[in-house]
Amino acid sequence: MVHQTEEQLEFYALGRLTETQVAAVEEHLLVCSVCQDKLDEVEAYALAMREAISAEPKPEPQTDWLAWLRPDNFRLPSWSMAAVGGFAALALATGVYLNRGGTAPAAPLATLQLTAIRGEMPAVVPARETDITLSDAPAGVGLHAEVVDSTGVMVWSGPFHSDARKMLLIRQLPEGSYFIRLYDSGGRLLHEYGFAVRSSR
């Protein structure tokens, strides 16, 4: 057994490891206090950074659309242009093939509406971003939401806009069951909601 690298621990903290990798990290954490302490340190930084960045306004798109032509931005060797063209054709053909009967690609945006007191678990298709409305969320300033998977691992956290009762989940989630926990500005848990991610097929 080897100690976990800081990079592995950061990916674990951010929920970006595969299930196999998560198992390896957790089996090590069971017996290694050094890596437990390291994970706490790395996680504090990574989650704080994600929280801080999510609260910042989205940067304006670059207006200089010819910037990509400048030599210092164009680093590909000449032979790669043919490779890029070939890859684009292959990607197009693959996309056509997949949409004819293979696995559907993730939608760019999905929407979901949830209420806290309800038995079923509404489902949503996999999407790169999911616009979630929590219909019965209370009003309040500084509300915060976390999404955890069925094993309690946090996979996303971010602000909740109580005026519109909405949150934007900027993360493509694998298929499975998830729970949204809504906290007030003091960290008190207000509501919890369940939903599932399932392909439409």
Binding site: E7, Q36, I53
Partner: protein
């Protein structure tokens, strides 16, 4: 892309672990010392994982429950591969966590009002000290983020918020992997320094951060 080099002191270094197969055999033979050894080695680890996901409420009972499940399985000869004892322990812990969450969610859905008696998986997060710490960290991270160049902010945003793979970020932003890691490492080091300054002096020193804002630089080839 090549595997990232292991630059942190402990990462990748060999780590001595007991011979779990021997420990399992000793426990099955009724060796109390082996039970104590097992308890001493991984109850802290079980506690650590449970605290991360379920919070502090009843954690000692949960640790004990998991330990009992594991030792009873050992005594009953249910471990197919004794050398993979830690894998089995982890599975037990994960099942316990999943069951606890499912139970908590079910109970919440059957109550109309939230009361103090309703189980909360995140009670420990309501700790005022933890909340203050989280707010301070977020403020420090915000200052670190604001203190780097616009390009570096984009890189950090793509990694931490948009969760793009690092090879995609590197190829699209014109970075080598080492440059990418160096950027993250510097931001983390800055985070640590500001945190230390806050802990020692109680302030974050806003003017000093602004003065040290780096200019836009092209990455090295």
């Amino acid at each position: 892309m090549q595997d990232p080099p292991k630059s942190d002191a402990a990462g990748g270094q060999a780590f001595e672990v007991p011979d779990w197969a021997t420990t399992v055999e000793r426990i099955r033979a009724g060796d109390a010392g082996a039970m104590a050894q097992l308890y001493g080695v991984f109850t802290r680890g079980i506690r650590y994982l449970l605290l991360r996901t379920l919070g502090v409420e009843e954690v000692d009972d949960r640790v004990h429950d998991c330990f009992v499940i594991v030792t009873e399985a050992i005594r009953a000869g249910e471990l197919r591969d004794p050398a993979r004892l830690m894998g089995y322990v982890r599975t037990v812990v994960r099942r316990h966590i999943a069951a606890s969450i499912e139970d908590a969610v079910t109970r919440r859905r059957t109550t109309v009002e939230f009361e103090d008696t309703v189980f909360s998986v995140s009670d420990w997060k309501a700790n005022p000290e933890q909340n203050l710490l989280a707010r301070q960290r977020a403020e420090i991270a915000r200052r670190v983020f604001k203190g780097v160049s616009r390009r570096d902010r984009e890189i950090l945003r793509r990694f931490y918020l948009l969760e793009e793979p690092q090879d995609k970020i590197c190829s699209e932003m014109g970075l080598t992997y080492n440059q990418f890691r160096l950027l993250k490492s510097r931001a983390k080091a800055r985070f640590g320094k500001l945190g230390q300054r806050l802990a020692e002096g109680g302030t974050l020193g806003t003017p000093a951060i602004r003065d040290k804002r780096p200019s836009e630089k092209k990455p090295e080839k």
